[in-house]
Symmetry: C3
Subunit: 345 residues, 3 copies
């Protein structure tokens, strides 16, 4: 099966400066073959430092061939060959990482003989369909998209161009994902939402007849689930980034460029704005709205709509267990002696 080949491009310091628009302080002909943290870097490594004062010692000891830095870093004893001065070091590092990382996701087009592809599916000749992949009727896979081993693509699924599905991704019927979407292993898009009506002590299933739509440039982490809508589609905007083990329930809408950290749970019909950041382990109740540019701290429980941008929290920082138990006891006692509401119990 196709494997990526050139994951280690060789670039000169001059070429790197040109690509990043960096000011080069040092020779322009050093050959760089990899990215590395300061302490691991060797003379062929590009490294980076966002806060030179804080990392002065690591800088002085570093053997890096070149370092991305926010300004002059005259460090006594530093043997660094070249400095690359950029206004946003972290972004420059991100861009540089793509030179080495993106080639890993390139495959030659073709269909592995063990794949089971419905004759009515339209697979672009430049797309790669890996071993054991199953593709249902009426689905389409766009140019240069890759479905790695054992992906299961249901009926009437649409996959855009340059998408990359890591091994073992499941897109159930009627899911649609845009261009350049990256889905990690174990992702499930389009499982039934959790909908049941009480029926004489039992539950009557509400069939989930909507789909899932994921916009261009989204990335969804390993074992994350996004359920199909009950009647409309569950919708994830453009450029949304979702970490591992997240649960997105039916009918949820997530605005463009919002980022969601690991283990978050978002209940049904919640609407989350654009450019939000949801911390790990947060829970968001259903049928509420969160406006744009909202930051939710880790392990916060969002219980009502948020109409004003800003930071919100309810996670409790750890304490020594003995102190924490005392805090809880104190709170309970306060509640019991609370004159305004104790009456009538």
């Amino acid at each position: 099966m196709p494997q990526c080949s050139a994951t280690n491009p060789v670039l000169t310091t001059g070429e790197i400066a040109r690509r990043l628009g960096a000011r080069l302080d040092g020779p322009d002909d050093r050959q760089i073959t990899r990215l590395a943290p300061l302490t691991d870097a060797d003379p062929e490594s590009l490294s980076f430092v966002t806060d030179p004062d804080r990392h002065a010692r690591a800088l002085a000891d570093s053997r890096a061939g070149a370092i991305l830095a926010p300004g002059e870093c005259r460090v006594a004893g530093a043997t660094v060959a070249a400095w690359l001065i950029v206004p946003d070091v972290y972004l420059a590092y991100a861009r540089a990482s793509r030179w080495w990382g993106e080639p890993r996701r390139v495959r030659d087009g073709g269909v592995h003989p063990s794949a089971v592809v419905d004759p009515s599916a339209r697979i672009d000749p430049q797309a790669w369909i890996g071993p054991g992949v199953v593709i249902g009727a009426g689905s389409s896979v766009g140019p240069r998209s890759v479905i790695e081993a054992q992906g299961v693509i249901g009926a009437r699924v649409r996959i855009g161009a340059d998408a990359f599905l890591h091994p073992r991704v499941t897109l159930l019927e009627d899911s649609r994902i845009g261009d350049r979407v990256i889905l990690h292993s174990g992702v499930v898009l389009g499982a039934d939402g959790f909908g049941f009506a009480p029926d004489a002590g039992a539950w009557c299933k509400i069939e989930q007849l909507g789909g899932v739509r994921v916009g261009d440039d989204c990335e969804i982490g390993a074992n994350t689930t996004v359920d199909r809508g009950a009647l409309r589609d569950t919708r994830i905007g453009v450029g949304v980034k979702i970490d591992d083990q997240v649960h997105v329930a039916h009918n949820v809408e997530i605005g463009d460029h919002t980022a969601i950290a690991g283990c978050v749970g978002i209940a049904g019909s919640a609407r989350i704005g654009r450019h939000c950041a949801i911390g790990g382990g947060a829970g968001i109740l259903g049928h509420l709205s969160i406006t744009d540019h909202v930051t939710i701290h880790s392990m916060t429980l969002v219980t009502r709509s948020i109409e004003r941008s800003g930071h919100y929290a309810s996670g409790v920082p750890h304490q020594e267990a003995r102190l924490w138990n005392r805090m809880l006891a104190r709170l309970r006692r306060l509640a019991r002696t609370d004159g305004t509401s104790v009456r009538g119990e």
Copy 2:
């Protein structure tokens, strides 16, 4: 491979009224081909409203062919063709959804040539075994049950009639699931429970020798895990509904018709009663019992047995981060100045 065909039945308003026992206010010959929310509905759509006053405007603007409603809805300007009056709108909507949804889960019987089925497994001729499915020795699959692509069924697994396993479900050895069970993609039943005995600074594995039993009419959401018991079976009753990303540890027992929302974790040997509702992200400690008809709110930590039906909570609603930090500081200060227990530190 077989695909469901008729997912869009066409029904007249008269036929719908008859099936639901609804009182029909309007023509009985309108053809309905789909379900839709009020605002998306067209003249071929059936829609529903549980609270007509609250949705008066959407009702007035709706173009639905028919609407399920709890009573007369004389709405000025409404162009709705027919009203279907029912005592429980939500349940009627659920029932109607099944006319369109259930046919999606019907397959012709057969075994896909790429499936790997042990010769000793008994597959009912009316069951469908999809591409890439693996079935171990001594297992059985009942009539009309469907195992979609890449399901892995271990040895001695028993699957009842009319069960539906979405793609990529794993049932490990000795698991047993009843009739009409629905398992969503990524479900794992029967992985080892988390059992280890301390052994001179390391951990000695306690082999997990029990199984998993799931009763009739259960539904389990995507990427949920139910571990096998240590010595006895982990047991899930009849009609239990579990959402995505839930973890059910070894030896847990869950009573009939209990519903568990997403991202819940249930620790080992917990016993949960019948007709309970567990909110999303809740955690339930091990070796405790929860009686019947208990509601646990979202992100609550259940730390001891609950012997009385009712509502329980410990989730903290979000606050503006600045206010929340002040609340925490206040609580810490209170605990420190708490005369009754500060002595002796």
Copy 3:
């Protein structure tokens, strides 16, 4: 395909006493064929009791063939045939469980014809590669290791000896796991860490160029994810035990023999010491360190480094919902009337 055969060894009470170094009180020739809890045990069962006083009644009623106990258990009416006196009952039970459990994980060597193995991969002749498994270029699988159905092994992965990968495990490129590692179904090692740099309102992906390393004797639960490092490897030490549905982010380091319960989330670059115990549903923020021998209680949020061994908590025990709401209201009122910080708002 190969199935384990002898999962039910038959042992005499004498042989069991010898293997466990137990003092035998009773006949040495009773045949024991299984392990069972006190209440289910029959005359061929070995059972155990850690606290005889607490379980006096179950002991009196038990029909077990032999019972592991911490000392003499003269129980009136007990029909137990033989007592096995050991200093650590729970550990003895764990050891005994392995006689019945470990044979389940033994397979004959070979490669199932449906597996897709790159010609450059080195598979030990004693290893078993199950149906539908995919193995990438340059990977190696050690002696007696087992990869069950539909495992996906990427390029350049190294798997030690006697490892057992349950069905549907994914090891992405450059992952390395040691000897005797057990990975449960749905585990994903080596998905991309969640790294993005802000870029003019959108996110620029930071390619994840590190790998994942898992030490000898680790066990990782169903649907747990361990992301690859950004530049270095994410590292899990020796003898680490991780439960189901856990998320371990990029660059995390976990020390030897630490145990992590279900649904825990560990954010990027956190370092956790040796011999720690992390309770279910806990969240650990990134870029912090936890020293050795730390216990974190369930659903605790660790927000800063922990430099002293001990117990830490912030999980809130459930209350009746009405009381809990009053506690929250009281806390909010306190924060508002807090003279020291209310000024200036």
